[in-house]
Symmetry: D3
Subunit: 288 residues, 6 copies
């Protein structure tokens, strides 16, 4: 009986958060270990379904770099990165699209359906969701079909949400002249969160959150204000892969997203622990 | 971290039940200790709110016999029971209506509102919910304004559910010739469950459930089929106050209610423990 | 046949007013003799039902001071008034709530249902309709649980109107810290009229209207502009109980109410005579 | 004041009928004196508007034989009747359609608009309302473009009703091979009442109702059962123009119309006197 | 097979225009030869039905001067024009209304129904569509019941469009004091186009379009800007009947109409050729 | 001008078919040459968009066998067929899913979007559209993950249709135990047509239709009744790939599909030529 009462108490601890987030949209960038480890995958899927049932509208944006590289290697293609971006010739673009929308996306849909969710997997082409153009950082460098977003048409996501489906989005964009682009999944998640005026953007990563000392998880910073970022970059606390994530955050805030969370996808049920417990488990980024 | 993972596991244990009961209506007869003890009251209220947030439509029918007797005594009226029914003259009826709809009902509404629910308290007169007539068991006996239900107009409950309110119902009926009747709350809960084709009727009582040996809680019968009842009555396992409850159950099943639960209201969070855990904590009654 | 034609003419006289008020909301403060005399009660009820059928949305706010005092006396409580306000200790508050929402409100609901209306009686707690706080006029005086309104959540009234129910409101408020407050019914009517942007606020009183000479009904002022009030107060034409009514009026006008009517509830069918005849029977207050 | 109370009583006398007919459809055949006398016209129009405002959906079907004959004479055409039917050659048909839909119909629309209704006048061609074919009673006789109804498409009437417009219908039909037909207005009213499952069909005539002695209005039969008709025909009480009216009635009853009223259009406000007073003023025909 | 492919190509040529005009409203002034010649009439009707089926909302405003004059002559009335306006005494007004709404309008409705459209013919009185007043150009001249528009209530048109009906409008207006007015059909079409914020106003005429040399169709000006008009008037290219049309155009543009087309109604299928082919067949007038 | 009139005539020839098919659903099996040849692809895409704009709801099911074999070969996998079915081990299934949903499906979506349609590409996993199980014809043979349909959940298709999107479906199914199945596209098209009670099922093939003499296109049978099929099989007119197609047809008819068309996808604009011209271009199969 004692155990039962404890169970009840856990459910009750979640209640204020359930109330608070009822009817809100949350965009989840799903990547890293949480997309590879079988056990972790199951917990992410369960978390998403629970979110949907308690009245949250989750929208999932997935990555899949490893799977792309795997198929490229099998097909004898060289995998080339330049400035952290995958150099994407036409053939690489075809492989990327096929792997992301035809394999990774559908695997997530399958898992959600098996666990009792109603998922629909789409790419940025479906419903003209993600319009993009060639990414040019520096004219002397050509990354091929690496794209950046020019416009989001969120109609299809709103339809799916309203009708009770969970949308799973592959980070593929298209241009009006008929090209397909490979886009960074963090950017896609950030822009979609902005276009939907999402309550939260949740980034599943392979780190504990933002830590003062990267090698010491106990130095986790639970809450950051977006305007502290420049200072943290100077101090070398925010580096590398974190830098573009922070740029996505800034843009998402401007479009009306309320909070952004950097979460450790290596922890089982990281999503609901972040959302439904006091304090959460990662770093939350707020703005004024 | 371990504690966190356990928390997540408890939420996950609830998930299959949340899925199963999404969009379903459950009628709760709220009475006994759970309506008197301050601590228990809070847990019932929290359970109801959680139910509403995870997509269940709870409808509450409350009792309040003790409060009626208390005011009668203060006003110098004798409290008379005959065959287990409160003999209800006009003055007693006025007191009963005032106490149930003006005090008990509003206290529940207040508590729900304070905990974040949106409750609306009504009596069987509002929206013409409960039409009744004088109860006659035996022509030689007159119980006064004790009534029995002739018709339920569930329209007002459906409106409140659809608009996100939690309806709290006082067991008062009216007749077309202008009389007010005091009706047994179990009957009201059963008939409303039937009229709404509720998925579950949950009766909060002051016993552990149906037990083979009333004095030994470890003899609890977790699942009963409604057609085993006659046999249990013969064996003296179902007696007294349980007998009319079982009659309400039978009628509710006929109108399409799926399951009926006899739950111990003395256990904190009895409702969600019954609904959201494997096995539950009381006796569930099923039918073919 | 002559009598028939006259009948038709009366109906026709009402037609322009029926057209004018189609789809409009009118808040009626129901109190005084019209709530005590059996014959008058019936005519008020019939008027309200007619209003509903010809397309007006009536919302009723009732008083009930006399009934409260009666029960207090029966229970041996002293009835104490200070500055025209009932001093309300916890026990008096409980009695007040019980009498208003459990007896007076339900009697009105019963009468409306018997005459063919579909009424739903609620208090300011239901649907969190009336948020209130302790009324403090002068820090040296304590009236107990006498409240003043801090916020109206008209959602529940809009739902009931839209679904064809007539809402009957008891003037009880609640505070976020869980207290119950006794609020002046005129204030409640005025604030609800404001929150609903009602076309009219109709106050049923025991006087003929505003009269230049209080003792001579033939000096009735048929139309007043709200900005003439200060002058009438100076002249001693508006005094006592009329003063807070006028303050409610002023606030109601600010929130968008179009006209306010002071009507003599001692006249049978006072409401429809005021609304559906040229000139009406009481004093109408307009603003610029 | 006495007069005021009487006014209120008249309104109250109408209330039970207003309740009873709320949301019901009534088809009115408008013809005879009530369509010619200026004063009577105004009272018919006012009655229709009052009906609409108290929640009834009136549908008007008008006649206009006199106007047709007038224009025919001006144009030098002979007016020929055979078996009570206007012999209608192509030119007569053109005149008939022009007069009914272009003059009579629009005059009614104008009057309704001037008195505050929102009317829309259509003919049986609009929205393909009335499909018809050539009427053949006896192969040796040819009435020209006199038609009988083969089908009613009530869609346009339902749209107009739902959107708050009052439909005014000219009794003109069309055939699939492109012909226009002149149809008896009583038949049109009866068939439309049937197609709309109207609550009442009201026939405005120039007689007091069905009277045992045609020359003595005091012998009016207030209520008739449709199955008494054959007997009344035998007795010579129902004759001539009444016979086809009764045939329309029979068909209307079969399609679900509840009651049919023969009313004296020479009495001002005949419609509301029939509908809103106990007993009415004409003959009502019921069926089992 | 070659012919089939050509057919497909024609349909494909229409596709970009179908896409572009999907859901748009177009007001068509229907008059001139296209309303008299049997063959042309059929093609106009077919064009309108095709427009409706491919998602355009056509609204037709018709003229009918010739038919009015014809009936006037038959009735022995003199036909008098002053400044290009028909002098309209009461009797002429009656004839005008009867001919337009009772003959011309219904003929168009018939044809549309026969070809598979669902048309509803109304005049400016129906649904109070066209409010008007007496047209006064110069106080010394009286044109009788020639009116000009003071207000358009487009509600009835919107209802008909939404419900799938094609509205056919006779250019008749009414004034609040009960008069009927004869209004220029071009003005009616222009004002209705403005009130509906139509995408296009299409004027069917008996000329090839605006031509530099009126006697030489090969000098057709395919596109004009509204601000070139004054210059064209000075040059004598726009004269007579074209001048008031241009004034209607100017007003329509101000209210939000996008383009206006002067089309030759003597060409079969002029409407769809103008709308669904590159370049069209007439003169399109644009504005900045 | 002559050419213009001809154009208009072609559009007019399509009108009766546009009327007839307005609001109807048509399922198109898209495969063969029409999916490979660049020019043909464009005409199929244009046809589908035209269908959508004229009020038809097209649903596309595509094949893609050649693309699967191509990638298998690149990856060094042997392509094995048994009884006309691709033997599908786990790796082949992964390749099949990736190619169909990640490459072929998205290419069709891209093309539709580029031509102005709003397409959404899904597989049978999305929205749990296609439930399947392992296909067993003969227990001694194992085709691997070749599946047959056990259930269609058409909800997601209905949502997409209603919201104006064109659904593109990959013939991939899932089983409740988590397996993915490769399903024959003709079967998928047939079953979806049945589940949607489609008006037509259109099969794009690489033959002229059903011909009495396969080698002579002039022997095309324009209309077949489904019950003539057994006889045609006996005669050797229906053979090989046509046999399973005919079995799909039979099932589709049983579920309420009205007509099935075998069309030659090698003809440009084959779809609209079949739908919008008298006689069509292929073989239509009807049933009693």
């Amino acid at each position: 009986m004692l155990r039962l009462v404890e169970k009840a108490n856990v459910l009750m601890e979640a209640l204020p958060f359930i109330k608070k987030f009822y009817g809100k949209t949350m965009v989840i960038k799903y990547g890293g270990s949480a997309m590879i480890d079988k056990g972790l995958k199951d917990t992410v899927i369960q978390d998403i379904i629970l979110m949907k049932y308690v009245g949250i509208n989750p929208v999932i944006v997935h990555g899949g770099g490893k799977n792309i590289s795997d198929l490229m290697k099998k097909l004898g293609k060289d995998v080339v990165f330049l400035d952290g971006l995958r150099v994407t010739d036409k053939e690489t673009m075809d492989i990327t699209e096929m792997v992301l929308t035809g394999a990774v996306n559908k695997e997530i849909v399958s898992l959600l359906n098996l666990h009792g969710g109603k998922a629909v997997g789409i790419s940025g082409k479906d419903g003209m969701l993600i319009q993009a153009k060639k990414k040019v950082i520096d004219k002397t460098k050509d990354y091929g079909f690496v794209g950046e977003i020019t416009n989001i048409n969120p109609g299809i996501l709103e339809v799916l949400d309203r009708e009770g489906f969970i949308p799973i989005v592959s980070p593929i964009g298209f241009s009006e002249d008929g090209h397909t682009y490979n886009i960074n999944a963090d950017s896609v998640a950030g822009e979609i969160a902005g276009a939907l005026k999402a309550n939260k953007l949740l980034l599943l990563t392979d780190i504990r959150g933002v830590c003062s000392d990267k090698n010491d998880d106990t130095t986790l910073i639970p809450t950051l204000n977006i305007n502290e970022i420049p200072d943290l970059r100077k101090k070398g606390i925010i580096t590398e892969g974190m830098i573009p994530k922070m740029e996505s955050c800034e843009k998402a805030f401007q479009q009306g997203v309320e909070k952004i969370h950097i979460i450790d996808g290596r922890i089982p049920h990281a999503l609901i622990l972040e959302i439904f417990t006091e304090g959460g488990i990662g770093t939350q980024i707020v703005h004024n």
